[in-house]
Symmetry: C2
Subunit: 360 residues, 2 copies
């Protein structure tokens, strides 16, 4: 029996144990083929079935029809930051961005490298402690697109309402994709590095509406043009096949629980439990984020002193709670509670927080 | 006990069984961490150790010093086709290429999209059945680089001598990296999709000499600039971590066998056994490639008729030899015998070929 900790890593992060057990079980012989899934051809019937299932499960769970392409690419979300203006920003056009933290800022930088960027909103001067009000956003009607970051892993904020815009809405969903019910048809493009809610790092999911896809600019390198991947269902070249295989297993796991409605219910309970532990002990724990912008995925909190934070993290680690250190750029503590983290894990952590406060 | 076939797939392809067993064994709990290696942070001490080991084993096995950077990127070799001119081809400069088949042609196309391409040599009009003579290559002295494809998986040809040029020599080694002893210092850049000799698809190894790296052009998207990856040892963003982990295990496996000298010895014996089976039965089997250009990695052969080829592949599959169908673009048969294919596998296949001839 493998020892397993409660893994609160921000990403790569915990995966469903049921999925890992399947992977382990069929690692030397994928379903009677006599080969590992890593050893089968991406042109084989077996892999085609995996790829098709990953695509159709994505559409099904998100409530999308075939006007949305589902792609699996390499390079992480950071590569998408560059590909978005490369594909969609035409000469003289502007890309509109909302700046809600580190990842938004990196996306913005890539737009500035390639063309004109327009800042539609920002919470930078308030240290990114909230998501700007949607009514306050300033989006030029002729912008090529509006780019937002739906969840901010480092600061622990998340969108709970959405901009209504006439330009294509592009969202970096790396850290909260498939975590709640949404009308996904409001987005023209959604993308996510797999390593939080979907699978291992090295595969990036890109969901892109056909009418946006058709506007890709000509003249880019073949592999950097979204149309290449869409036209071949990500099989123009050898895709990150093992990652797609795990994504497919994770999406089956999501579906078996009852889809995004069921996942949202558990995620709601998980974050409530942890924010409660903070709010009911606010003489000791402090959540730096405005309540209406709190992330359901990354619960950030501070303790009275940095020494106590160190002690908290050390004792939590010893007690089997891993990954609670805040991002190196901000310090403090952070519990990342993506889909695969159990309610039990959050309850145990809340209990630990309570006990730690009593003892210190 | 898992059933395992003799897997002659062209890529993704067979991996060392010893490596797969380690992966399986530690899949739920990586070395006492209580997490899968897919669940640990890429900023953790555990992953850092994996990454550093993969880098230093690469240098050690190839006989390179620290003037070579070892990067692990996403997107496959096909993405590198575009990144090479993007990084190294300056306005007015020419990229020189040798065309030895499908993959070279794709690399050439990406140069033509971005700038001026000069054809230094080609075997296209002879259906790519050989590697052009090195003395016949025409490389402009002011070319930005010369690009070659060291092994051609589809046609089954391989370089056995090397161009001597004053411009940087860039080689796509996707299908024969780490398969033989070479003076690797003759190359300024080597790259390879992992899925043949190194690991699973989704990770691409790029080995690049510092003096070439320093010539990268400014103004490209951050993730498409090699310097980004080199300066952070591939950890600017979350890398394809699971792929790097397996690459590290495969490189340890190579080292434990005695390094590239030992691997070359086995690979020499493997290809000899199969080409012998063809040549000694040349009233039945036919190798379309000129003998001095034969690939040690992909042994291509034809049978008297296409019907016999179908029968051969069907009976071989039934007998436990997988992946023997030639590439869809050329037909025929192909045995891909990368490092992880055993000599025993090749001997059994040679025996099967002999018996099949007798019976047909």
């Amino acid at each position: 029996m493998a020892k397993r900790i409660y893994n609160f890593n921000a990403g790569p992060s915990t995966l469903p144990l049921d999925v890992l057990k399947i992977v382990q079980d069929e690692l030397l012989d994928y379903r009677g083929t006599g080969m590992s899934v890593m050893e089968i051809s991406h042109r084989s019937a077996q892999f085609d079935e995996i790829n098709e299932a990953a695509i159709s499960l994505t559409r099904e769970l998100m409530g999308l029809d075939e006007s949305y392409h589902v792609l699996f690419m390499g390079g992480g979300a950071s590569t998408q930051f560059g590909l978005i203006p490369m594909n969609f920003l035409r000469d003289g056009q502007t890309g509109a961005y909302v700046d809600t933290g580190t990842w938004s800022s990196k996306a913005i930088k890539e737009c500035e490298i390639q063309g004109k960027m327009h800042l539609a909103g920002s919470s930078k001067k308030d240290n990114y402690t909230f998501i700007p009000k949607m009514a306050d956003l300033d989006v030029p009607a002729d912008a090529a697109y509006l780019h937002i970051t739906s969840n901010n892993t480092i600061k622990g904020t998340q969108y709970h309402s959405w901009p209504k815009v006439s330009v294509p809405l592009i969202v970096d969903m790396s850290s909260d994709i498939m975590s709640r019910q949404l009308d996904h048809t409001m987005f023209s493009m959604m993308y996510a590095g797999a390593q939080k809610n979907l699978g291992p790092s090295g595969a990036t999911m890109v969901v892109i509406k056909d009418d946006l896809l058709q506007t890709c600019k000509d003249g880019n390198p073949t592999m950097l043009d979204y149309r290449t991947h869409a036209s071949k269902k990500s099989l123009y070249n050898t895709p990150p096949a093992f990652g797609i295989y795990i994504i497919k297993l994770v999406l089956e796991w999501v579906k078996n629980q009852g889809g995004l409605a069921a996942v949202e219910k558990v995620n709601r309970a998980k974050q409530e439990r942890l924010y409660q532990a903070i709010d009911l002990n606010n003489d000791f724990y402090r959540g730096p984020v405005q309540k209406d912008s709190r992330s359901w995925m990354n619960v950030c909190f501070r303790l009275p002193t940095e020494d106590l934070e160190k002690k908290f993290i050390a004792e939590a680690t010893a007690a089997g709670f891993g990954g609670l250190k805040g991002h190196r750029s901000v310090g403090g503590c952070r519990a990342s509670i993506y889909n695969a983290m159990t309610l039990e894990g959050c309850e145990k952590l809340a209990e630990f927080m309570q006990n730690f406060k009593k003892a210190n």
